[in-house]
Symmetry: C2
Subunit: 338 residues, 2 copies
Amino acid sequence: MRIREALFGPATVGSVLILLLGLAFSTADAQQADSLPSWANRSARSAIVKFVREVTKKGGKEYVPPEQRIAVFDNDGTLWCEQPVVQIAFAMQRIKQMAPAHPEWKDRQPYKAVLAGDDQYLVDDLLSGGHAFLDMVETSHAGITKAAFRQNVREFLATARHPKFNVPYTKAVYAPMVELLAYLRSNGFETHICSGGGIDFLRVFSRPTYGINPANVIGSSTLDRFERIDGQWQLTKTRKGLFVNDKSGKPVGIELHIGRKPIFAAGNVRSGGDIAMLTYCHSHRLPSLQILVNHDDGDREFVYSEKDNASLNAAKEQGWHVVSMKSDWKQIFSFGDE
Amino acid sequence: MRIREALFGPATVGSVLILLLGLAFSTADAQQADSLPSWANRSARSAIVKFVREVTKKGGKEYVPPEQRIAVFDNDGTLWCEQPVVQIAFAMQRIKQMAPAHPEWKDRQPYKAVLAGDDQYLVDDLLSGGHAFLDMVETSHAGITKAAFRQNVREFLATARHPKFNVPYTKAVYAPMVELLAYLRSNGFETHICSGGGIDFLRVFSRPTYGINPANVIGSSTLDRFERIDGQWQLTKTRKGLFVNDKSGKPVGIELHIGRKPIFAAGNVRSGGDIAMLTYCHSHRLPSLQILVNHDDGDREFVYSEKDNASLNAAKEQGWHVVSMKSDWKQIFSFGDE
């Protein structure tokens, strides 16, 4: 009856305010309970929710002030599918589009292999250091203005489709991780991508796909050139100052771009590329949480692992939470029925 | 009478809400009017207030959405005093502190000059490219862990005092610019430092001094090394991958760290170091504003200018707002009486 009175009957400013505040709090509680609907009620989900509750509880001994609530997420295999690696698919498409202007590529590797669809050549090169591969990526990315590069990426993402799921690559993102990003942000976390992929490539879709602004993207990078072209000041992509944001480069990239150690980090099992990032996060003097996505669902996604098992071994040693896509995720993608 | 009724008499939720919203708006208006108290009521202040009102007015033709409200500020000479350049004072103090372990420095330039207090040698070197100077800065900054470096900077800032004003360097900051940073943030802007100074040096004091988080600092940088030292994972400063965030490097640094073009940029007259940054901002397709601080107040600060007048010429050509410290700032510093 008091609520009814406050809403519809005579009321003081005070009682209305109390009511409004009360409504706001109940809404917040409800939001939290519903914010990870794709996560099965298992230990990974519980660990995440417990961690977030503790670091946000003012006066609690695990409390972490908002400016220190930094979360970093690998992208390929952690936020979206990495079978195939999307940026490589983009680079190969660009090489094909550029080929008519480069007749010499027909006899030159790795272009010959790309144009002939000889994937094995590229795989062999990658396994032996990836020099030809890097050259191809640079050729397909550098020497054009930032604006032109972004346009190329946009066109690719608008037209290319995932070979298994037949959706645009930006739809082959993991619904549980998109929920987790939003859940962390609603609890005062600043969310960042920290990927071995190119920073310029990632920034084209980070905001519409994950709600992550370009400024919060950390990736491999080169240094642009600022120059006047046809009377317009432009940034041009170059091959200079290459920084590879992978493996032990990830903590370096995080420090360069954020300047603070994250208290939350998420990576995945494949190449050991996230071990250094999770180790770095785990070394925090403040409470921290690490999760490692394991690709063990061949029906709904893919099954793959590491030859040396380094990531899973590190997880066991340091107490990171391994997320089984098969068991921990009720839903993997938000497209169609599964 | 209606307001009185709403406050003290019987009221519906609707009328109370309208009243509360009304109060909120009047408070916001008042805040805006009072938020730049150190600025004289002249054209620079008017231009800033007009610009901010226009880009924040929803539905207005100059409206800019919050995620595009990026503001960048040079530091030396724009946010704080650059006479002397504080980071050079820090580097020279470090060289003196390190000297006992380096007896060979007594006969080796530029260390000999630093230890002998021969400023002219360093000035001459800077004018001829600054190679000896850069070597000295690197020696005083690199080869130690990030944690140790930060501690060195903290100790310096806690003890060193500005030679003219006899206050810590972090107090020799321009009150009108600190107000401007807060004013922009309260209007949905994201504020960033974009300085030729070292990113690690700036990040030690950016938050307490300017309210700018480490992640929003853009500066000259090198690439750290992630390594285990005495069982602890650490980042160590190196000399590798040097990126100089000055002159045409500033748009490159902005792109690397933010990935978006700013709509607001502030720099100062001295070396022409901010021309490229302001030009870049000015080339925005969205409404933008550029301000250029002119050091013309020898009584309250310092008087200096550029030999070739390049910054002021560019300001005239592109329509940037020149801020006279003497005329536009009622107060320069917040310490003592002026």
